[in-house]
Every structure is written in structure tokens, then in C-alpha cells.
Amino acid sequence: MNLDLNKKKLREINQLLQNVGREKNNRSFQILNPQGQHAICAGLKDDIEVSIKGHTGYYCAGMNKNASITVHGNVGTGVAENMMSGKVIIKGNASQSAGATGHGGSLIIEGDASSRCGISMKGINIIVKGSVGHMSAFMAQKGNLIILGDADADLGDSIYEAKIFVKGKVKSLGSDCIEKKMDDKNIKELNKIFKDLNISEDAKKFKRYGSARNLYNFKIDNVSSY
């Protein structure tokens, strides 16, 4: 079913997609002429497939629950922000804060992602086939940020327990972020993610980064400071 943003209002299209229901047979939709509008496909609950033909604005596919959304273009700030589950694929580049605070599901960016990719992520898997901008995985709590290209400055600043995997170069690590050993368990886990998402990559070529756990753990030696 084609939904044309030149003919229908964004709110009308979003409401239709948010209320498809389990009993409906038509579960495949195309959005035409997105023209950089904000919040396209925000809050989709059902397991439907949506293909967006063009560039989108802010918070595209935000809060996604079960939908599978593909954007054939670039996306603005906060794509798939606070995603719970489901799958979001970006064929072009993503702006800042891609996958911010995401709890689950997979966000795949085929181009580059800008600054603060995966900020405060809480369980989502983010795969960036290009490079990421500065301060990516800032305060990331859970989940995996997998970067096939390079990472700009201050990667993983103030990170909690999320894992970062990078195949290319890392310009610099942020506060309390360190390189960690890529053991067999990590390799197996990462290869499983690649297999599930049909990505032909070898986990052995990646380096792993995570928290040194000095910043967020309370140390008894510091008690006098409080």
C-alpha cells in the first residue's frame, strides 16, 4: 500500500501505521515523498514492513516496537530513538544521536552515522557500516555498538556496560573507556549478531571496547569527598 506524504498528512499516515492490528492481511507499506519531515513512522507497534522512499527528518522510526522499517535515503537526528524491538535499516547516512536510548531491536546504518551515535543506549544492537562521529556510545548502558568503519574522538565516554566493537580506527577513547580482550565468547556473540542480520563480516577482525568501571563504581577510598 502506497502512502504519499504529498497527498496525506503525516499524522494521518502515522496513525494508520500505528493501528494496523494483528488481523489485517496487508502488512507492507511504502511511504513516498518524505521530504525530510520529522517523526515519520514513530511509535509503530505491529509487525509490519514499511519502506520509506527518500530522506527523513528527526526521530524517524522512534519508539519502534515490532515493525521493520527501511529508509531509502538519509535520516535526521535521533533515528530509532528509544526503539524497543524490531528492525530499522538506513540505506544512507544518519545524523546525530542515532539509536539514542534504544532498549532493543536492531538499527542498521549502511552509510555513516554522525556524533553521539548510540548515546545512552540500553540494549539495542546498532550496526554502522560506515564510520561514526565523536562521542559515540556516550553513557551507553547495555547493548552492542558495532562499527565497520572508523570512530571519531571520545568513543565510549562515561560508558556503563554496553559493548563497542570497531573494525577500523578509533581516533580517541573517552573517559573511562578502554580496549578489552576479544575472547572466544565475544567472537561467538558478535558472529551470531552478524549471522542473524545477514551481514558477512568476521568478528575476529574487530576490537572490543568497554568500561574500565572506575567512573560509575563507588569507591570506599572516596567516601570523604561526599
Partner: protein, 292 residues
């Protein structure tokens, strides 16, 4: 919030459409800045003529013509709502002095050999109509829609700020050390007409350029001297430069085709540009000066 836009034509193909393109871009950015709008549009320069963009405030264009004719001969005036473009071969030093001392009731918005600059309070959609922006042709242009934060909604508080010949600046963000910089620039003789932070940044750029720095170096220096959040577009007679601060909280997106380079706070305001869907679209990196 605020919205900033810029368009630079690489070929002559769209020179007649420049005003129309910019008008659509400002229209699209009305959501980021509903309080006031302004734009600078650069046309081919006439070697001997200077253009002065003047806001008449309460005067009518006839009253202004009568008054200015006492001091300047051989002038042409074009009226656009409450602004006029005064064209004369008199040098800026003399004209600026006349405006400053004899015609205090009007305000100079900007001057140069190729810049035409307009700004006014009100919704950007109305402002662009008022100044008939769609009818302009030119080589490059920048514009701004303002959501006022640190100073009042007035014409003086609107962007772009022009503090020197053919130079102007639009800004999305806020500067935290503008009072200190304003004080030190005032000591060096720089004049300011508002309490606005962006005017200080524009003054800073003009001051550095007057000392012999080029625009790129000046913008690089601003990274250490100006404290705050910003995306700047600085226009000159040849083109414009773009800079985001090193934290890069304020957005910017660039779309480049073989015919033009467009810059804006959000992609949605460029969606009407020709072939934009196949353009090279990227986000400028923090702390890097881009210029066209």
C-alpha cells in the same frame, strides 16, 4: 532554537531562481524560528557603486529620499517594504557618517558592493513575502529564522548581522562570553547596536579580518575565543563559510549538486531544491571550517 540557511550557486543555471530557492528554505525553517527573519542576498558587483541596505523604521521612502538628497547627489533608491537599497558611488566612510549623524531615525542593516540585506520581526513566511525575496536573483545568499532567547524580538535583534563591507553572519546557538568580548572589541573601536550575542560574533569576525586575517583563520580562532554553542554561516562577496562548535549540538546539513551547495539546519527546508534527492548530502564535522 533558530534556523539558518545558505545557498551558493556553482553555475549560472539557477541565478534567476536564487531568491525563490532561499524563500522556500526560510519558509521551511519558520518552525525553528517564528519570531523574526532576515536574509542577505549577493548579486554581481558593480565596481564603482556601493549599495546600502537601510531600514527606514518610521520614515517613508519619500521622506528619506528628501532627507538623504541634502547630503548625497546622484543616488538611486529601491524600496522594499520598510527597507530601501540606496545605490551611490560615494565611499562608505562618508555615507556611514551621514547616516550616523544626520539620519539617526533610520538604521543601516548592511553595505557593500554586492550585498543586499533585509531583516524584520514577524513570521518568516510573511517577512520573505514583504521583501519580495522570490523576485531576487544573485550568486549566493544566507538567511536566518529566529527564536529569540537571550535578547528581545526587535529588528536590531534579528539576523543576519553585518558589521563590515559585504560581510554578514547568521548564527544558530548561544554564546556565553559575549559580554566580555563586546567590551574588549568596543575598546578597539568596534560599534554595536544591540545586546545580541551574534552581533558580537559578527563584530569579532570583522575585527579579525580588518587586522589582516582571512575568513577561514578567523573562524578557526573563534573556536578558542567564543564560548558557547553555535553553527555559523558567514557570508562574504565571494561565497560563504560554515562552522560548528566542537560539541556540535546545533544541527547543520549540507546538500551539494553540480549546480549548487545548500546548507541548512534541517533537511526539510531543502526538499524543494532541484535534484536534491540525488545530491551529495552530509553533516559538517564539528570544529572544521567549510567554505564555498
Amino acid at each position: 532554537m533558530c534556523g539558518i540557511v545558505g545557498i551558493y550557486l556553482k553555475t549560472k543555471k539557477y541565478e534567476k531562481d536564487l531568491g525563490k530557492f532561499l524563500s522556500g528554505m526560510l519558509d521551511g525553517m519558520a518552525t525553528r524560528g517564528p519570531d523574526s527573519a532576515g536574509f542577505a542576498i549577493y548579486t554581481k558587483q558593480n565596481k564603482n557603486k556601493f549599495k546600502y541596505s537601510i531600514c527606514l523604521n518610521q520614515l517613508t521612502d519619500k521622506e528619506f529620499k528628501k532627507k538623504i538628497s541634502k547630503f548625497l547627489k546622484k543616488i538611486t533608491l529601491k524600496t522594499f517594504s520598510d527597507h530601501v537599497i540606496l545605490e551611490t558611488d560615494e565611499k562608505p566612510k562618508k555615507v556611514l557618517e551621514i547616516l550616523d549623524t544626520k539620519l539617526k531615525e533610520v538604521s543601516l542593516v548592511g553595505y557593500g558592493k554586492s550585498i543586499n540585506i533585509f531583516k524584520q520581526t514577524g513570521n518568516p513566511k510573511d517577512v520573505v513575502r514583504k521583501f519580495k525575496l522570490s523576485s531576487f536573483s544573485g550568486t549566493h545568499a544566507i538567511g536566518h529564522t529566529r527564536m529569540a532567547t537571550e535578547s528581545a524580538i526587535t529588528t536590531q535583534g534579528s539576523h543576519p548581522y553585518s558589521t563590515s563591507e559585504d560581510e554578514c553572519l547568521v548564527h544558530n546557538g548561544s554564546l556565553s562570553n559575549h559580554n566580555n568580548i563586546r567590551r574588549s572589541l568596543k575598546k578597539e573601536g568596534q560599534k554595536f547596536n544591540s545586546e545580541n550575542d551574534t552581533e558580537v560574533a559578527a563584530g569579532y569576525i570583522s575585527n579579525q579580518i580588518s587586522k589582516g586575517e582571512n575568513l577561514e583563520e578567523t573562524l578557526k580562532n573563534s573556536l578558542k575565543d567564543l564560548d558557547g554553542f553555535y553553527t555559523f554561516i558567514a557570508g562574504t562577496k565571494d561565497g560563504f563559510a560554515l562552522l560548528r562548535d566542537e560539541i556540535a549540538c546545533k544541527p547543520a546539513v549540507v546538500a551539494e549538486t553540480k549546480d549548487y551547495v545548500a546548507v541548512a539546519s534541517e533537511f526539510q527546508c531543502m526538499a524543494h531544491l532541484p535534484n536534491v534527492n540525488t545530491a551529495k548530502i552530509f553533516e559538517p564535522k564539528p570544529g572544521i571550517v567549510y567554505h564555498w
